[in-house]
């Protein structure tokens, strides 16, 4: 504590420079946290996927439907405890800018399989009793101001026409990264209104395994059961399905990593240069400190501490800014359903900031440590 005035005086001797360096850290950390958030949003499905759930889709393509008749046959496969199904609706609210994912769901079993979504019992009951009812995720409800009892028109793209729904419930998530943007309505309602050739088809099945069941064997049994039929299936874990879905958008991971690395490296150069300049400017003062009895390691520690404090201040500011930004929700209007900065990512961001602060300060700190008093005074 007794060295605090010395450290503080050094940090604030060039206020503009210190502010700019802290600002560089803040901007870089803001960007870093944003990248983590975007990556998390892309991978949200993978991370949130149920470990005991498997998805059954058409072997031909995800957009090819499967017969409803498969439900009972799948339930007889050993290892399958229960299942539900859903179809992609793909409509928009009012116009194309207002997109959120809509699913026609199996109102009987959907809630008990997707247990991460919380719908109050009375709302779920009201939904089940109203064929034109819908359940909306809290994020979407907040975004458009939907309340229970509202009537929501959705313009169908795949299934043409204007579809009217009654909001019967708002769902929440058990975890911070659960997707709260979805819109669920009765598959029966969809099936009732589609063209005859599309009746009795679903988009995919979600299967829950019995405890101890081997997912690979269950998947094999399901797919073999429908082999050589007009609607062959592909069964995979929900996690694998979500991961392959993300991969379709390209190597997001590599892109994020590359941008992150460039940001960190640039920051390293900026801070390293700032600290080197600071040490050069204070050659005489550092020599005075050594003259009056400050040891070489102490002077080195002083420079390192300054560099780390700048990094910590900038890091904290950047992370706080990023958190405030992400709290406002998905800025893309639906592309990044779970736009959430978790505490672990905030801690990682601060860790990166501190590490950059230390690494950037090492060379100037070593230079300060090696400074020879007599030579330093000759230069001043």
């Amino acid at each position: 504590m007794k060295f605090l005035p010395l450290i503080a005086a050094n940090l604030f001797r060039k206020k503009i420079r210190t502010t700019l360096t802290v600002g560089s850290f803040a901007v870089a950390l803001f960007l870093f946290c944003l990248l983590i958030t975007i990556r998390g949003a892309f991978n949200q499905g993978v991370e949130a996927a149920g470990a005991d759930r498997m998805l059954v889709i058409s072997k031909v393509s995800m957009i090819q439907p499967l017969p409803l008749a498969y439900r009972d046959r799948m339930l007889r496969v050993p290892g399958v405890k229960e299942l539900t199904f859903a179809s992609w609706f793909g409509g928009v609210y009012q116009d194309e800018r207002n997109f959120f994912p809509q699913f026609a769901i199996d109102a009987e079993n959907y809630r008990q399989i997707y247990t991460e979504f919380i719908v109050p019992d009375e709302q779920w009951k009201a939904f089940q009793e109203d064929k034109t009812g819908c359940i909306i995720g809290a994020a979407t409800a907040k975004r458009y101001g939907f309340k229970v009892g509202d009537r929501v028109p959705i313009k169908g793209a795949i299934f043409p026409g204007e579809w009217q729904f009654n909001v019967r419930g708002i769902y929440q998530g058990r975890r911070p990264n659960d997707d709260l943007t979805q819109f669920w309505f009765h598959w029966d309602y969809l099936d009732e209104k589609v063209e005859p050739f599309l009746k009795s088809y679903v988009g995919w099945y979600t299967v829950r395994l019995t405890p101890g069941a081997q997912p690979v064997q269950v998947a094999k049994a399901i797919d073999e059961g429908f082999a050589n039929s007009p609607f062959e299936t592909r069964t995979q874990s929900e996690q694998a399905f979500m991961a392959s879905f993300v991969e379709q958008m390209g190597n997001i991971e590599l892109l994020m990593l590359s941008i992150g690395a460039v940001v960190v490296f640039t920051l390293l150069l900026v801070t390293g240069n700032t600290m080197a300049t600071a040490v050069r400017e204070r050659t005489g003062e550092l020599a005075v400190l050594k003259t009056v009895g400050f040891t070489d390691p102490f002077v080195m520690g002083l420079v390192l501490l300054e560099s780390t404090l700048i990094a910590a201040a900038g890091g904290l500011a950047g992370v706080a800014l990023a958190k405030a930004f992400t709290l406002r929700g998905d800025p893309t209007g639906g592309m990044l359903a779970s736009f959430y900065l978790p505490p672990s990512a905030m801690a990682a961001g601060l860790g990166v900031a501190l590490a950059v602060g230390v690494v950037a300060g090492i060379l100037p700190a070593v230079a300060a440590m090696r400074l020879q008093v007599v030579q330093a005074f000759r230069k001043v």
Partner: protein, 232 residues
């Protein structure tokens, strides 16, 4: 009492024996100091004069433990400092030497109080004790009402007095002054020299001072001349 040319054991505070310093510049050897023998007693005020490059500052740096000799020894109060290295030498310096420079060498972002407090930060003194010591040192140099001023808010003479307060605050064994009046006008220079003389007379400090100014040297008990690294 100052003695030159002795070469044996001595009870003096500072005992310098066969001290030499050689710098290498490429293949060239510069013998900055050659075979210095000197004894300085406690309470002496010694001035070193000589032309530029005669080795005055080098001698001061060696006695203050800021530099190491090529050969020879420096013993202060029984400690042969030329045998000390690294952190032990730094610790010795903190305990025994007060430095006063021509350009004051104050930390510009710290107040007079904080500048004077610097050497005490390394001691186990409490905050209140440090405050008391700093206030005493600043009072001795007549700057008790300028404690919170930054160096740029003080005149050259006042800055040098802050530097003197910093040099004496830890009650060192001796003071080393490298051209302490070299950057001051006559009046300020005289004030500083009077202050140094007072430190010797009233407080029993030992002072070794390098100067080009004969009037400054007049304040010392003894004036020694260095020429081409040799004491005359």
């Amino acid at each position: 009492m100052v003695k030159i040319g002795q070469n044996g054991s001595s009870d003096s505070l500072i005992v310098i024996r066969n001290l030499a310093k050689t710098y290498h510049r490429g293949s060239e050897e510069l013998h900055v100091l050659q075979g210095i023998n000197l004894d300085v007693d406690k309470g002496d005020f010694v001035a070193f004069m000589g032309p530029s490059g005669s080795g005055k500052s080098t001698l001061l740096n060696l006695v203050g433990g800021l530099d190491v000799p090529s050969t020879g020894s420096v013993t202060v109060a029984g400690d042969e400092i030329t045998r000390l290295s690294g952190s032990r030498l730094t610790a010795w310096r903190a305990r025994h030497v007060g430095f006063i420079f021509q350009m004051y060498n104050l930390i510009p972002v710290l107040s007079a109080f904080r500048n004077v407090e610097l050497p005490l930060l390394l001691s186990p003194l409490s905050r209140a004790e440090r405050r008391r010591h700093v206030e005493t040192a600043l009072t001795v140099v007549g700057l008790q009402d300028r404690m919170q001023h930054k160096p740029r808010e003080l005149s050259g003479g006042q800055q040098q007095r802050v530097a003197i307060a910093r040099a004496i605050v830890a009650d060192p064994t001796f003071l080393l002054c490298d051209e302490p009046t070299g950057d001051l006008d006559r009046k300020s220079a005289d004030e500083i020299l009077d202050l140094l003389a007072r430190l010797v007379g009233e407080f029993g400090k030992t002072v070794l001072m390098v100067t080009h100014d004969p009037r400054a040297a007049d304040h010392a008990h003894a004036t020694l001349h260095l020429d081409k690294g040799v004491l005359t």
